[in-house]
Symmetry: C2
Subunit: 197 residues, 2 copies
DNA sequence: CGCACAAACGGAGGCGCCTCCGTTTAACTA
DNA sequence: TAGTTAAACGGAGGCGCCTCCGTTTGTGCG
């Protein structure tokens, strides 16, 4: 009988009054930090408080928790894809690739425990994900290709395999030395990639 | 970081003090009715109130909402399987079969909207389901077999197919005439079963 | 400017979740 | 029957969710 209701979609992005825009941006910023630090279960009232707005304002901008999560998720995905271009400009291709992979695992590390919310989103809005993941994949492929082009890494590898290997870090139990472990793994992969076949 | 915690399992069934046993039984009874009528989202405080116990008592017996749902779910599954035997004793095999199918459909109708809670349960406790469904399947097979034995229905049908057909009612949109529709469908299936090949 | 008014704000209030702990009571013993 | 005690009770209280609506404010217009 009572299945999940669609609710009204998040408000159209443009044509907001100046104060509304300001508050919305502030909320997004605070929420991103809060989710990263304390997980998606963070109290929305806390987020509103930290953003210096009333709880009503938060709910007007993001009618459900999932709407907010979606916006943050999307933003991070975009910034990750964008980082590829930026890194490619500032570093040699292989270094750019390695650094990007580190950021990638850092990103998915954040998403542990978010699994539930993400699943709900995936069902209700699967285009978002196709799109987001597509951007990530092509950003990654550009980096790999550039490094291969310069002869810095081998060219006979399947980028999908590589991405899968990185994603599998998701299932590593979280321990204090988590970051080191993942960096070692990435180092290992890079050595493999640099090895002449 | 913050994934779903296991919590302590539901308290062992036996060796309860008399009052505890009474309260537990009453809670189960009330909860079954409430879930059936208003869905799994029903307020637990309401259930406690209706059962005439404090909310603390409810939580002592069922540390999480899922624990309570599981107990109800299991109970209903058992009673459905048990009904097969009972019906078989009181009616001709084909009538017993038809009536049982109606009950089956009525049962799964209750579970709409419960999907979420059930999924959580399935992940955490999959043996429960294997067991429960196994009982249902064999109860159903007994009925079909008995009717076939007496020559009341054909014997060349696959019970799994039939059960699947019944389950598919799950995806029928809920409308006021839902029950009639499902009964008509069952009638149709029965006619098919009775038809000499 | 100053005005009008829709847009946006914000927080009180109602509800449900869950925990904690002082009080009650069933059950066992002498 | 009275006494003891561990088991069980229950509800107050703290927190978070979300809605509703009276108040404030940005914006466009004369």
């Amino acid at each position: 009988m009572a299945t999940a209701e669609p609710k009204t979609p998040p408000p159209a992005p443009s044509k907001l009054r100046a104060d509304a825009r300001r508050n919305r941006d502030k909320l997004v910023e605070v929420a991103a930090a809060a989710f990263a630090e304390k997980g998606v279960e963070t109290s929305l009232e806390d987020i509103a408080r930290q953003a210096g707005v009333g709880i009503g304002t938060l709910y007007r901008h993001f009618p459900t928790r999932e709407h907010l999560v979606e916006v943050i998720y999307r933003r991070e995905l975009e910034s990750l894809a964008g980082a590829a271009t930026e890194l490619a400009e500032k570093h040699p291709p292989d270094v750019a690739l390695e650094e990007w992979m580190r950021r990638f695992v850092g990103y998915i590390a954040t998403k542990r425990g978010m699994a539930n919310s993400l699943k709900i989103l995936m069902n209700s809005n699967s285009t978002l994900f196709a799109e987001g993941f597509g951007n990530i994949r092509s950003a990654f492929e550009r980096l790999v290709w550039a490094a291969g082009e310069k002869g810095l890494i081998r060219t006979d590898i399947d980028t999908a395999d590589l991405l899968q290997a990185l994603s599998s870090i998701y299932s590593m139990p979280d321990s204090p030395d988590w970051r080191e472990r993942s960096h070692r793994l990435i180092g290992l992969l890079m050595d493999g990639l640099r090895a002449r076949k």
